[in-house]
């Protein structure tokens, strides 16, 4: 995996989130304020467009820090700040041009740390952390079993989806859904849902056939 693959990842994430923007926005309308899908689609598309302008020899670190900076400045809301900081932190962890499974794991752990640090959410709070943490744990577990990068990314994508679905019975303790108290139970968290799409995009660009 190299800088071009990372650029492809962000582009694929923009495509998936744009295609699902209505669903994400509907999820957000149920327990938030109904803007998540459109905002994130706008932010990721702007990030992908900015990456297309980078020089061909841009490093993985430059790709992710550029994507993160654009996401912070174009998305708005909590999700823009959180995903943007996550990508910037992931970028700083990538000090090589050719990313193997171990380097990608380090970058994903750093991204999760960035989200936790800024958003102060833990697993079980019904946020993107529920999907993100499951994905990172599954990635690491797969890698320790000797699975290659593509296989670990697929494991992460499945775990992110499971982590997102697991938010349905939770009562939100962070973010705008927390204002609803028990009424937040029974709804899929939109941030966890978008995290699942971002990991699916990663699996799509690294995996090829499953």
């Amino acid at each position: 995996m190299n800088a071009a693959d990372l650029t492809a990842w962000i582009r694929r994430a923009a495509e998936l989130v744009t295609a699902d923007a209505e669903r994400l926005t509907a999820l957000d309308a149920a327990i938030g304020d109904g803007d998540h899908g459109h905002n994130l689609a706008r932010g990721l598309t702007a990030a992908a467009d900015a990456l297309a302008e980078l020089p061909a020899d841009a490093s993985p670190q430059q790709v992710l820090s550029t994507a993160g900076r654009v996401l912070v400045s174009k998305t708005g809301g909590a999700s823009g700040a959180l995903y943007g900081m996550a990508l910037r932190r992931a970028g700083t962890a990538l000090k090589v041009d050719e990313i193997d499974a171990r380097w990608l794991g380090a970058a994903l752990r750093e991204a999760l740390a960035g989200i936790r640090n800024l958003g102060k959410a833990e697993e079980g709070d019904k946020t993107m952390v529920d999907a993100f943490a499951k994905a990172v744990a599954a990635y690491d577990a797969a890698r320790h079993r000797g699975t290659d990068l593509a296989g670990a990314a697929r494991a992460a994508a499945s775990a992110a989806e499971e982590g997102a679905q697991a938010t349905v019975p939770m009562q939100a303790r962070k973010g705008r859904a927390s204002y609803l108290g028990p009424r937040s139970i029974g709804h899929l968290d939109p941030g966890a849902a978008s995290t699942a799409l971002i990991f699916r995009a990663l699996a799509d660009v690294t995996g090829g056939e499953g």
Binding site: D33, N39, G80, G119, R173, G175
Partner: protein, 331 residues
């Protein structure tokens, strides 16, 4: 709901262009999303910057001017502004005495203002922040993101703005902002939802005989859905929630009955009459009052009641001259 717009994606920028045309006393950058009072930065004066999602007008852009905010940064509808925007507004109003950020307690606003304050510090601008969390509808702060910033934001911006205009330093302006927030409580009731232009459908469904108690200002549902009541019953529910949290008996109050956007002024005055009667019955005095849509949620119907326990100094600062698009008196 039919909307008077050109393009859902351009609503905020189009509205800012309209604001600029109507108010030449403001400097408006519609593309960057920044509204600054024309004479900023004023040397030696603490700059006041606030911002948040659009759709709450006149908050915050309508409160930019002498005696209140130096700049506002509106985000997309119901979406916090981004750090670049806030940082640009902050540096634009820094007259060397530092800048106060007035931030409503929503996760997105808090995160983006924090990132902006770090960026401003890199440019050697001293920044302090006041977090507004006046909404009593959110109960248990350890299990939530904390109370929301709602109608009381108007009080914080007006009173801190008045003190900054007198030349007080950053610590004092921040302190009075926090004092107002601590002495203020709000509670809102929705009679209908609202529709975000890019979403195109209402944020929640409400039956003809239902209302939402304890709403925020982003079209989010409230803490409880109950059968619709009379104005007197609605106001009593709001004031009982406030009084349970901050006893009002014996206090001299600044009272805002705030229309949420879709409730006409005549009904807001019906509500204010009920508020006034309830407070008289409960031994509190309405010392200052404000009625109108100041912190709205697009076309949501309903009202929010905000009360601040005044002191002589806070009363003086509330009465001080202000000259903004939405609040102006004393000059």
């Amino acid at each position: 709901m039919r909307k008077l717009i050109n393009d859902p994606a351009e609503v905020v920028a189009d509205a800012l262009r309209g604001l600029a045309a109507a108010h030449p006393e403001l400097r408006v950058d519609a593309d960057a999303g920044i509204v600054v009072r024309r004479d900023a930065p004023r040397p030696g004066k603490v700059g006041l910057v606030s911002g948040g999602g659009s759709g709450h007008e006149p908050l915050h852009v309508g409160f930019v001017g002498p005696g209140m905010l130096d700049a506002a940064c509106p985000g997309e509808v119901f979406t916090s502004p981004v750090p670049d925007q806030i940082t640009a507004a902050t540096t634009a109003v820094d007259g060397g005495a530092g800048v106060l950020h007035i931030v409503k307690n929503y996760t997105g606003d808090v995160l983006n203002f924090e990132l902006a304050a770090e960026l401003a510090a890199d440019e050697d601008v001293e920044v302090a922040a006041v977090l507004v969390d006046d909404d009593v509808a959110v109960h248990d702060s350890t299990h939530t993101a904390g109370r929301r910033g709602t109608g009381g934001t108007v009080f914080v911006e007006k009173i801190a703005g008045a003190l900054a205009e007198e030349g007080a330093d950053l610590a004092k302006v921040a302190a009075v902002g926090r004092e107002v927030n601590e002495r203020t409580r709000s509670f809102g009731v929705a009679l209908s939802p609202c529709t975000v232009p890019t979403a195109g459908r209402p944020t929640f469904e409400l039956g003809p005989d239902e209302m939402e108690l304890g709403i925020g200002i982003h079209g989010e549902p409230g803490r409880e859905r109950v059968p619709a009541g009379t104005a007197t019953e609605i106001v009593a529910a709001a004031l009982e929630a406030i009084d349970a949290d901050m006893p009002l008996r014996g206090e001299r109050l600044l009272v805002l009955v705030n229309g949420m956007g879709g409730t006409p002024l005549i009904e807001q005055y019906v509500a204010f009459g009920a508020v006034s009667a309830w407070l008289a019955d409960h031994g509190a005095v309405v010392a200052r009052s404000l009625v109108g849509g100041y912190v709205t949620s697009l076309e949501m119907a309903g009202v929010m009641v905000s009360v601040c326990r005044l002191t002589p100094e806070l009363t003086r600062l509330w009465d001080a001259p202000v000259q903004t698009p939405a609040l102006r008196w004393g000059r």
